[in-house]
């Protein structure tokens, strides 16, 4: 039984950055003993709003009330005094310190003395698991997040704001998080959870407030809401949430990976004896928790990372040790669409034209010492028209574009190279719903034209709807490859945490996971 009195009220809060209105006349009501979900697409102003509550930004207009009294939150200190605690998306922890030391930081001298006892009390009360003496650098993401929550509780917060807390968690970890959120709610804490995932909103919250492009759309009771009604409020129009999975006639394996081992930057084994294959016209999803080797796998296939051992067979040739030149001389074209699009893949300060030219500037008029910008502009215009990139001109630096448009430029350039295989890592990360669906559509079009696609994803619902097969990695090992249409989330979740290893169950002498029966690799070459 929690109290449901008002903790914090926002009335017409406005914040602008230059000419950009991040928040416009937002009204919120945060109550004790209740979970409020703040729902909105990327860039709709959720985080800005919460930063004003935690004293990082100061509103340009409007008023904040604390327990009915008007207050002025000018610094994180003021927020602390009002018992507001924020758990940021990017953790603010000192890596070299232990859990207890991190919690003691920012507590007045004497209060930190029996911090271990406090931690234990809080852990017992809400069901956290945390070792006060563990160093942060030894923790995984979920443990770090737990520590962040325990930290703000130890600092006395009774209003907790969690910014996209599930973005980095596996399904099982998310379930665990929701259990403690519910326990805190029962204890009378006020909780705000910022998210753009609808199923989580429906699962954990009591009320939902929706923002769209910085504007307050409204608040609804969760029990009256559906995924469709929330999406409509969030996007402002009816959206078809179904993802197509066009069926393409099975072709011979296009790319076969056999016993592949790759090391990461520190020299540890990141991918460990992995087997899989992609057929033309097939989309293979790769699921796994962060750091399970997806990044290294992509980079190796794209030729950016040397492989330790194993084969990468395209058609009937092993390309794993060929130079990019030799590979392209065989008419093989692989496209890698990396997750950090502005860090790798695009040059952010250069114009769209220059970015479109990145892959082809050398080939055009091979002997001319000059860059053919005229052709670049033409190609840029084609991409802008075909994919609907919103930009002032072809000469706009790509970092000035929105996330969705950045991705369209990158994807457009890659498709123009007519790839046989597309490797894409988190292609919709940071994109709004409409852009995401457009990206799915483009990938499906490529698939239907016979391209093999390796799709590294994070949203299991999307992968189960979009991909043909899903391969699960755990610490660089394949836990199994399942049919996406018949897999369940629970099964995938267990495989992602290493609790379920299908290869142990299913592999026999004659049939091994990830080895095609109609393989192009002749046995004597193995």
């Amino acid at each position: 039984m929690g109290q449901t009195s008002s903790a914090i009220e926002l009335r017409n809060v406005t914040k602008t950055f230059g000419s950009v209105v991040a928040n416009k006349n937002i009204c919120l009501d945060i109550r004790y003993g209740e979970v409020l979900a703040l729902l909105g697409e990327n860039g709709s102003g959720k985080t800005t709003l919460m930063n004003m509550l935690s004293g990082i930004y100061y509103p340009d207009g409007g008023q904040i009330y604390y327990r009915g009294e008007p207050v002025d939150i000018r610094s994180p200190k003021d927020a602390h005094a009002l018992r507001i605690g924020m758990i940021h998306q990017h953790f603010k922890l000192v890596d070299l310190f232990t859990a207890a030391e991190n919690i003691r930081l920012g507590m007045p001298g004497s209060a930190g003395k029996n911090v271990a006892a406090q931690i234990k009390e809080i852990c017992d009360r809400y069901g956290f698991e945390i070792d006060p003496d563990q160093k942060v650098y030894n923790m995984n993401v979920s443990q770090k997040q737990t520590l962040e929550i325990v930290k703000v509780l130890c600092h006395g917060a009774d209003v907790l704001i969690l910014d996209e807390p599930t973005a980095v968690l596996t399904l099982q970890e998310t379930q665990k998080l929701f259990r403690v959120i519910k326990a805190m709610k029962e204890d009378g804490k006020a909780i705000v959870i910022i998210t753009h995932k609808l199923n989580e909103v429906l699962e954990v919250s009591d009320r939902v407030s929706i923002l769209r492009r910085g504007e307050y759309i409204g608040t609804v009771e969760t029990k009256d809401a559906t995924e469709l009604s929330l999406t409509e409020m969030m996007v402002g129009q009816k959206v078809d949430l179904n993802i197509d999975r066009p069926l393409v006639e099975k072709k011979k394996p296009l790319l076969e990976i056999r016993d592949l081992t790759i090391r990461d930057d520190e020299g540890n084994v990141a991918i460990d004896g992995v087997n899989f294959y992609i057929r033309g016209g097939e989309m293979l999803g790769v699921a796994g928790i962060a750091g399970c080797g997806q990044k290294e796998l992509c980079e190796a296939i794209a030729g950016l990372r040397p492989i330790e051992s194993g084969m990468m067979v395209h058609g009937d040739e092993d390309i794993s040790r060929m130079s990019p030149k030799e590979i392209s001389a065989r008419g093989i074209s692989m496209s890698f669409i990396p997750e950090d699009r502005l860090g790798m893949g695009l040059a952010p300060s250069l114009s769209i034209t220059d970015n479109v030219l990145l892959k082809s500037y050398k080939e055009s008029e091979r002997h001319s010492p000059f860059v053919d910008r005229k052709r670049g502009r033409e190609e840029a215009n084609v991409i802008i028209d075909e994919l609907g990139v919103i930009t002032p001109s072809t000469e706009t630096p790509v970092r000035r574009l929105s996330g969705g448009n950045v991705q369209k430029v990158l994807l457009g350039r890659e498709i123009k190279t007519n790839p046989n295989v597309i490797v894409t890592a988190y292609p919709v990360r940071g994109l709004d719903i409409n852009s995401s669906y457009l990206i799915y559509k483009i990938l499906n079009e490529q698939k239907m034209s016979g391209v093999g696609i390796l799709f590294i994803g994070e949203d299991l619902d999307v992968m189960m709807a979009l991909c043909d097969k899903i391969m699960v990695l755990f610490h660089g090992k394949v836990m199994g490859i399942v049919n996406a249409a018949t897999a369940t989330k629970e099964q995938l979740g267990l495989m992602m945490t290493g609790s379920l290893d299908l290869t142990q169950i299913k592999d026999t002498e004659s049939k091994k996971t990830g080895i095609a029966q109609d393989s192009n690799i002749k046995e004597e070459t193995v």
């Binding site: 230059g18 002025d72 250069l350 001319s368 860059v371």
Partner: protein, 374 residues
């Protein structure tokens, strides 16, 4: 009146720094010109408050220092060209985000190579051939000096800022060694004019103008560098590597090769600046031929945002300030520091104006009511 002006209790202003949208070109230049005007006013106030001199007179004297008579005018042009040449050399390196602060050393080794050619070949080779040999030798020397830190960077990822800086000191010591070696006359501790009678290796006067060859060389280089950075495939690669090394690697550029190649070009142009300083200007070699221009050129390259034509204006501004400051120091018996202060104020304001090209400051009132809530 006074009551109106008086602040109401509890009312206060809050300052805001806000990012600007893209500024139009004329407005941007307007801000820059305004900055120079503000700097001149600030300097005038300072001059008057310290020395009680008429600031207008001081400015006239500054202008005369740089432009009175054709000799001074030519000296200003000559020094501008050396500074411009070094800046042109730095531009590709900086555009690639390779922090080459070793121009001073690259100029010195280029100067040593030139002096060596003049001393050992000066009276043997015909002048046109000798000039070509000097150009090549100075470029090679500068290129090697620039290449060494680049090799270490490419191979072991050493920090090029420290490395190029240290290379300066080696170059200074090396110059000191050669000055001792070529000392003339004995015991003077300097090299003196090289080939004072035959003028072997001196840049020849063109159309009766001593420094016209310097101007032609450097301006040709300016045009070349402008198009190299803007239109060439190599310039494009430099921009991509400078913007995102990962992306460059991702599209298959050989990043190491691009770094090495660019530093060869950068060092070679700085070496050529050494040649112009020795054979085209002082006709002798000393540790002072760089005169700190290797560092001043960093300011020029950055202020002009690597636009080769913009560098002409900024090199000229800096040399003008230097000449003018020297002149007012002697005309009014001010010591060197006064003119350094003026130079500092002008540079500070001009560089500071770049901030206002990207941001603007706005104020807003916080009402008494809000204040009370605090």
């Amino acid at each position: 009146m006074s009551t109106e002006k008086k602040k109401k209790s509890g009312e206060s202003w809050q300052m805001h720094i806000v990012k600007r949208e893209m500024l139009s070109r004329p407005r941007a230049w307007g801000i820059r010109l305004a900055a120079i005007a503000i700097a001149l006013v600030l300097c005038a106030l300072l001059i008057y408050s310290i020395t009680k001199l008429n600031p207008v007179k001081v400015y006239v004297s500054m202008f005369k220092g740089a432009f009175r008579g054709s000799l001074r005018t030519w000296n200003t042009i000559r020094d501008t060209m050396v500074l411009l040449c070094i800046s042109l050399g730095l531009a590709p390196a900086f555009k690639m985000k390779f922090w080459n602060i070793g121009a001073e050393g690259q100029v010195l080794v280029g100067g040593i190579a030139t002096a060596a050619c003049m001393i050992y070949l000066g009276n043997q080779l015909p002048l046109p051939l000798l000039l070509v040999v000097m150009f090549v030798a100075s470029c090679l020397a500068g290129a090697v000096w620039g290449l060494i830190p680049a090799l270490f960077k490419a191979k072991w990822n050493t920090n090029e800022t420290l490395f190029t800086l240290m290379m300066n000191y080696i170059a200074i010591q090396l110059t000191a060694y050669f000055v001792a070696l070529w000392e003339n006359p004995y015991g003077s501790n300097s090299v003196g004019l090289i080939n004072p009678d035959t003028h072997g290796g001196w840049f020849p006067p063109l159309f009766g103008m001593d420094y016209l060859l310097n101007v032609i060389l450097v301006l040709a280089l300016t045009v070349g560098m402008y198009f190299y950075l803007r239109n060439s495939k190599q310039g494009y690669e430099i921009a991509v590597v400078g913007d995102s090394e990962n992306t460059a690697r991702y599209v298959g550029m050989n990043v190491k090769r691009i770094i090495l190649r660019t530093m060869i070009i950068s060092g070679a142009i700085c070496g050529l600046a050494g040649c112009i300083a020795v054979a085209g200007t002082s006709h002798t070699i000393s540790t002072e031929i760089g005169g700190g221009r290797g560092f001043t050129a960093i300011i020029v390259a950055w202020m002009s945002k690597f636009n080769a034509f913009g560098m002409i204006a900024y090199s000229f501004l800096l040399v003008f300030l230097e000449k003018g400051a020297m002149q007012i120091a002697s005309d009014f018996g001010l010591n060197n520091e006064t003119s350094e202060i003026m130079k500092g104020i002008i540079l500070f304001v001009v560089l500071g104006s770049e901030f206002f090209l990207n941001y603007k400051i706005s104020f807003r009132k916080i009402s008494a009511k809000e204040e009370k809530n605090a």
